[in-house]
Every structure is written in structure tokens, then in C-alpha cells.
């Protein structure tokens, strides 16, 4: 179907059964297993496992979209799919049955346990832990070491995933309890334990997290007196121009 023009470093081990796009670079000491579909212009760094077999995949392949970058020492199982422009840090772990949109960033040491739906332009920072049945909306940002849990009575057979609605922000070192919904455009302050649903456009913080204020009450800490939220007003780094242009048309009048 496609021409295979893979720049494979000499020490990489690449299955001949893997489907690999044009202009793909595969780093040293990386292993590409059989059940893998990699798009065009993808760079996979060294020491990775791509398409690790698992019976839990039901035979589904790992699909990596075009223009992606997977950094070193990462492990992706078969049975998940990622849109274009996936970008990872080092040593991420990604299990089966994840359906992710475009332009996902997965930070260093993130652990995605699988069975998760992820929208477009999501940002996960170092060590974020995403457990089964999580549902993460477009443009959500989850910071360092925050955890989406799923078992309300550990251990039990109950799986209540967390839902994080679009544009919501979960700051560093938060623990979100099972079945919780984080509303659109909400902000969970650093170090919070969230055990009640968070209303859209509100700020919660604390252990346990309590309502603090409306997001619109927060002013940027740069002396500008500008509103800090919705963050799309002022923060555009890493998003494509067609999207930030739209944000500017909404918020600049």
C-alpha cells in the first residue's frame, strides 16, 4: 500500500509485519512489534517498545498518527490509537484500549492504564496517572503527578472513571476520586483531593477540595490586571494558529 522508507537505526528491531509510513525514524535499541500501524513523518526515539502484545487488545493494532514524536524508553501496547501529532516525553507507559484525538502531549513518566477516551489537544504533564474508564475532553490540561482514580472501594470490581470536561485544568499533585466530573473550564488548585463534582468555570482547592471562587474572579499574576481564565484568552503556546485565531476572535472584543 505504502512505500516503506524507514530510517531504522542499525540496532533497532523492527517486525516486518509492522505497517510503517513514509519518513519514519526509529531509534537505536527500540523494538517495533508486529501489530503496529505508524503514520508518516513519525520519530520514535531509542530504547522504546512499540506495540507490546497483550491479550487484552483483542487483536487490535497500535495506531500512531502522522507527525508524531515518541521519546526514549517509552512503552506502547497494541490496541490503542492516537491521532496525528502525538508527542510524548521519556518513559511513558501506554496500555490498550485508549482512543485519543490529535495533538496529545503525554509527559515524561505518565502512566495511561488503558480503556480511556482522550479528546484533541490534551496535555498531560510528568507523572500524571490516568486509570481505566477516564474520559478526558478536548484541550484539558493535567499537571505533574495528578491522578485520575477509578475504584471507590479499593479494592473492588467497581470501575467509576473520572470525567474531565473540555478546557478544564487540574494543577499539580491532585487526586481526583472515582466517578467525579470536572466541569468545563474549571480549575482544580494544586495539591487538591477532589471528592465532589466541580462545577464549570469554578475554582476548587484543598483536602478535601472546596469551592474557592469563579474562574473569572482570578487575575493574572503578572501585574497586567487581565483575567487569567478562560486561559485561552492569553495562552496560545503549542496550539495551531487556526485554533488560537478562533480564540482571539472570541476573547478579543
Amino acid at each position: 500500500m505504502e512505500e516503506f522508507t524507514v530510517a531504522t537505526n542499525a540496532t533497532a528491531i523492527v517486525s516486518s509485519k509492522a505497517s510503517i509510513g513514509l519518513n519514519v525514524n526509529i531509534g537505536d535499541f527500540t523494538i517495533i512489534f508486529d501489530n503496529v500501524v505508524i503514520g508518516d513523518n513519525v520519530s520514535i526515539q531509542s530504547h522504546c517498545l512499540i506495540g507490546q502484545p497483550t491479550p487484552l487488545s483483542n487483536g487490535e493494532p497500535l495506531i500512531i498518527g502522522n507527525d508524531s514524536l515518541i521519546r526514549s524508553h517509552s512503552v506502547f501496547y497494541e490496541g490503542s490509537q492516537f491521532g496525528s501529532k502525538l508527542m510524548t516525553g521519556h518513559r511513558v507507559t501506554v496500555r490498550e484500549k485508549i482512543e485519543a484525538g490529535e495533538n496529545l502531549m503525554i509527559g515524561t513518566h505518565c502512566d495511561l492504564q488503558g480503556h480511556t477516551k482522550i479528546g484533541d489537544y490534551v496535555r498531560l504533564y510528568t507523572g500524571a496517572q490516568i486509570n481505566h474508564a477516564s474520559n478526558i475532553g478536548d484541550f484539558v490540561r493535567i499537571y505533574h503527578y495528578s491522578v485520575l482514580t477509578n475504584d471507590p472501594n479499593p479494592p473492588s470490581n467497581i470501575v467509576l472513571g473520572v470525567k474531565v470536561n473540555k478546557f478544564a485544568v487540574i494543577a499539580t499533585m491532585c487526586c481526583i476520586l472515582p466517578g467525579i466530573q470536572i466541569g468545563e473550564n474549571a480549575l482544580v488548585g494544586a495539591g487538591s483531593l477532589v471528592r465532589k463534582d466541580v462545577e464549570p468555570e469554578t475554582v476548587v482547592a484543598g483536602v478535601p477540595a472546596k469551592y474557592i471562587c469563579r474562574t473569572s474572579d482570578i487575575v493574572l499574576k503578572d501585574g497586567s490586571n487581565q483575567k487569567a481564565y478562560p486561559w485561552m484568552r492569553h495562552f496560545h503556546r503549542g496550539y495551531p494558529k487556526e485554533i488560537t485565531d478562533e480564540w482571539m476572535s472570541i476573547y478579543d472584543n
Copy 2:
């Protein structure tokens, strides 16, 4: 003594001094050092270091029991021993002087600093941090990013390990202070900082953790009206039939 029938991938580096059982698989780019005893039917994935030398081992070997699975990028030092059916996630770090029973699960990114006693059927989830002098009883479960500390006056030369008694559960993102005892069948709620001993069969939570209720007061969040604890009533996944049969005979009348 034993026949050596090792399926070593071509790129693995295996010391001829290592003692390796029957039906062992060793992944690509993995290094097996000298002072190692690996049982039968063991699978070690790629990019691991097994039996990393250290003067702190006093010359003791690393012993891995039969039927074990060590996932990729893991590092085990010499000088610790594990019963049969050890199973690890990816990138675990395991230092010297650990004595662990059967059927231990060590999740991805766990860091076991050594000098620790671990019972049978213990479960450690992603990023759990087990420091020196910890003592973990049979069937204990410690969830994501929870830490057992040991230095009451950091930094000092005092080492007061945490003791977690059998069947106790420490939920996600807890910090257990030095010298604390967690009682049998107790539950520490997510995000807790524990600085007082926890009585058996009680639930504590918060920063600092306080008594919440008896574990027997908690009902499963699945509408069944069943008691959630002792969890052995209803949760059997990953435990062998002879054990869960015994639990059923205790709790089903």
C-alpha cells in the same frame, strides 16, 4: 544441577555465572549479571538490569522465584529474594536486602529502596515508594504514588520503618510517616498524611489523617448494599482459587 534451556534473545547479555532455570525467556537489550538465581518459567522483558552488583548486598545473590514476569526497563540489584510468581510493571527499581514472599506485584515505576520485608500476595501500584525498614504484611495493597517514609527528622541517622499489617489498604497518594503502624484490615483514604498509628479495621483520611469510621461501616458503591470491607468478601481478582475459596467459606455464611 539444572539443565539450562534459556531462550535468550540475540541482543541480551547474560553472564555465564548466572544460575538460570528451565524455560526462561530473556528479552532484547537486557543484561543479566553474575550473582543471580532465576527459577523456572520466568520471563524477563527487554532493557532490564538483573542482579546489578552492589557492595551493600554482602555478596548475597538476587533470587527470583519460579513463574515470574519482570517487565521492561526494570532494575533489580543483587542481594534480594522473591518468592514465586513475582510480577512487575515497567521500570521498577529494586534494591538489596529485600525479602519478599510469593505472588508479589510491583507496579510500574515503583521504587523499593531495600532492607524491607514483604509478605505474600502484596500489591504495589504505580510509583509506590517503599523506603528502608518497611515491613509489609500479607495481602497488603498500596496504591499509586503512596510513600512509606522512614526518617522522622530529615535528614538524620534514625531509621523508623513503617509497618503495614496484613490485608490493610493504603489508597492513592498517601504519605505514611516514619515508625507508623497501619493495623490489620485498616483503610487509609486517598491523599492522606498519616502521622498516628491506625487501628485495625478502621478508616482514616485527611491531612493529617483522622479517624473516620469502622471499615465495617462502609458499603460498596455499586448499589448492592453489601459491605465493602473486609474486601476479601467480594474482591478475588488475581488471587489463587485455594485462597479465595477459603475467603468465601469465611465470609459467605
Copy 3:
């Protein structure tokens, strides 16, 4: 300039452009990139990436001082420099524009995001997360999973680094909010969320962290009735004799 006497394991990949000192050992499956200056008597374990290229380095090399030890699966980018006796755990990630003094210890899984100034004899334990614009003084100790943040309105373009002054101790699982100063010789108790500056020689703890007492009020939990702080009174492990002799001359009369 220097003689090159590198003990490179057969499977390592070492750029001929890298400058490598005398008596250097490079582990299996490790990659040394071009823009690297490694001192004498350095040991780099297996599966590492040393000098990973990045446009953010402005062409600056990675400099590793003499007598250093980098443990396995670690990733260092080009554009940072480390004094002599650097010692890392496994799987550390170190980005560009870090200027670090002598005798730095970086624990397993630490993530140093770059653009950070680090003094001499600093100790970072497992999973510590050091974000851009952090400033860490001499002899500072930061324990497991603690995070120095930098964005007061996530996400924003504001970068307010944390400053930790010399001899201060941040215990396990603390989150330090952007722009905070931790005073000299201060102690932040485990599990704290720090959102106000911490005065020198004081102890804070909690979520949010509050003043607890003077550090001089704390007595060692070993029955000795000795003061626990300044910790240099009684804790000397890992520091050179000329320094601990000086501490003893100050505190022993």
C-alpha cells in the same frame, strides 16, 4: 588535548565528536551524542542517552564533571553543566540550561526540566520534579515526589520559579507554589502545600502549610534529647570530611 582511554562496552554508541576524559566507563546500550564533555573517572551505566540534542541548548554542550556516576536509563540533554561528583539514580531526566555545582545527587525518576540553578551538595530524592526557573541553594535536600512549580495561573506565560535557600529541607510529597522562597535552614513537613514564603529556621506543614515552630524547637526522635536542627549538627553521611569537620567545629561547643 586529553588522551582518550574510554572503556566502552561493545554495544554502546559513542560519537567520535564527544570529548571524553580519562578512565571513563560507558555501559551497554548507552548512546553518547556529539555535543558532550565528560570529565575523568566517570561511570555511565547502561541504556542512557547522554547529550540528547535540542535546539533549546543554543549549541551549548552537556558538561559532566570528574568522578561522576550516572545510573542506567537516564537521559541528559545537551546544554547543561554539572560539577564534579554528580551522582544519579536510575532513569533521571535532565533538560538544558541547568547550572549545577559539585556533588549533586539526583534520585531515581527525578525530572529536571531545565533553566535551573543548583548549588553544591544538593540532594534530590526519587521523583522530585524541578521546573524551570528554580533556584536551589547549597546543601538543600528535597525528598520524594516533591515538586517545585512555576506557573501561578496554569496555563500562562508567567514563570515564577521557586527559590530554596541553603540548608533548607523539603520533606516527602510537598508542592511548592510558584515564586515561593523557602528560607535558609527551614523545614517543610511532609505532604505540605506551600503557598507563602517560609521564614529561615522555621518549620511549616499542612495543606496549606502553616507555621508550626522554630526548627530549634525540634528534638531528635532517638531519645538523645539532642536538637534535630540545624541538621548539620548530627548528620554527616555523604558529605566530605573537610565540610563535616567545619560543621563539627561550629556545632560541637
